[in-house]
Amino acid sequence: MFFITHCMAALSCCLLDAGGFGQPYARNESKSHRSQLALPPLSSSSWQSPLRAFAWGMSSVASTVLTLVLFATYLGIGALAHDSHFSLGWVLGSTLLVWAGPAQIILISTLGSGATAVQAAIAVTVSAIRLFPMVVSVLPLMKTPKTKRRHLVLATHFIAVTLWVECYRLLPQVPRERRIAFTHGLGCGLVTVCMFATTLGYGLAANLPQLFAAAILLLTPLAFLLSTARNCNQISDVLALVLGLALFPLVSMLHTGVDILISGIAAGTIAYGVHWSRERERA
C-alpha cells in the first residue's frame, strides 16, 4: 500500500510538473495547436458590452481541440440514432435538451436494444450524477455578489464535460461580471456545432464503415481522460482520476447498477483525504 501511494505521488508530480504547477493555463495561448484567437486583456474596453462578451465566448469555440472531438462524437451519435431508427428531429432534440454525449449514447443504445423507458432512465440518471459536482464546482467562477440564481439557469444547462474544462481554462481571462454572457456564447457555439454534426452523422450513417464507428466511440474516453488530466492542478484531482479509473473495474464486479457512483464517491473521498492530511502536515 505504501508503495502504491508513492507511485501515485510520483505519477501526480510528473503530471503536475508537465503542466507547470500553479499556472497550468498560462502558456495556452502560445501553443501552436491552439488557434491564434486570444481574448482581450481584462482591462480592455471591449468587455464593457455583454453582447461582445457573448461573441467572444462563441468565437472561443474555435480555440479548443475539444470542439473537434465533440464534432466527431456527435457525428457518431447522429449515425447511432439513424441506425437505431430514431427520427432526425428526435436526435436533434436530444442534443439540444440532454446535452451530454455519454448520456445520449446510453439513451439511444439502451432504447434501441429494446429496453424499457424506465431502464433507460435509470441508466441515464446514474451516468448524469457527475453533472452535479461539475455544476457546483464551476458556478462559483461565474458568480458576482449580485448574481441571482435564475441568471445561471441557462449556463447551468450548458455544463457538461467540455464546458466544465473550458470554463476553468477561459474564465480567468474574462472579467467576472461578463462571465455569464461569455459562457452563454460558448455554450450556444458548442451546441450549434453539435447540432450540425448530429444532422451530418444522421445523413451519412448508411455509409460509415465499422472501423470509423469504433474510432469515434474511442474518442469519448480518450478526450475525457486527457481533458480531465489537463484540468488537474491539485494532488486531490490527480489522485481522484487515477483511483477512479482503478476502482471502477473492481466495483463493477459487484453489479450494483450504481457502480460508477460507488467508485466515484469512494475514489474522490480518498483523494480528498490525502489532500487534507497533506494540508495538515504543512500547517
Binding site: H33, S87, A100, L211, L225, F248, T269
Partner: protein
C-alpha cells in the same frame, strides 16, 4: 413535421428518460451549490468526486465497450488509450497530440489484425 420529429410517444420518452435525468442533477447543483464559495474545502472534495465519477465513465466505456468499439480487442483498447496518454505527457499536455496518437494506435492495430 410529424415525420421529422417521429411519434409523440418517442418525444415523451426523450423528455422523461433523457432530458429530466440530466437536468435534475444540473439544477440540483445550481440549487445546493449556491452557498459554496470558490476556493472552499468542500469544493475540493466535490471536484475530486466529479473527477472520479468521470474517471468511472471513462473506465466503463473501455471495460464494457458500446457498439462498434466492442469489435476492438481489450488489449488494443487499453493500449491505444495508454499510448494517447503517453503522447499527451510527452508533448507537455497537448490533448490534440494525445487523441491523435491514441486513435492512430487503435486504427493501425485493427488494420494489422485484419
Amino acid at each position: 413535421m410529424s415525420e421529422f420529429f417521429g411519434s409523440p410517444h418517442a418525444l415523451l420518452i426523450l423528455v422523461l428518460a433523457g432530458f429530466l435525468p440530466n437536468e435534475i442533477w444540473r439544477m440540483a447543483g445550481l440549487w445546493f451549490g449556491s452557498g459554496v464559495d470558490e476556493g472552499s474545502e468542500v469544493l475540493v472534495w466535490v471536484r475530486a468526486v466529479a473527477t472520479a465519477i468521470l474517471a468511472g465513465v471513462i473506465a466503463q466505456i473501455l471495460v464494457q465497450p458500446p457498439g462498434a468499439l466492442a469489435s476492438v480487442p481489450d488489449w488494443l483498447r487499453y493500449g491505444a488509450v495508454a499510448a494517447g496518454f503517453a503522447a499527451f505527457i510527452l508533448t507537455r499536455r497537448s490533448i490534440f497530440a494525445g487523441v491523435v496518437c491514441g486513435e492512430i494506435v487503435m486504427l493501425v492495430g485493427k488494420w494489422w489484425l485484419g
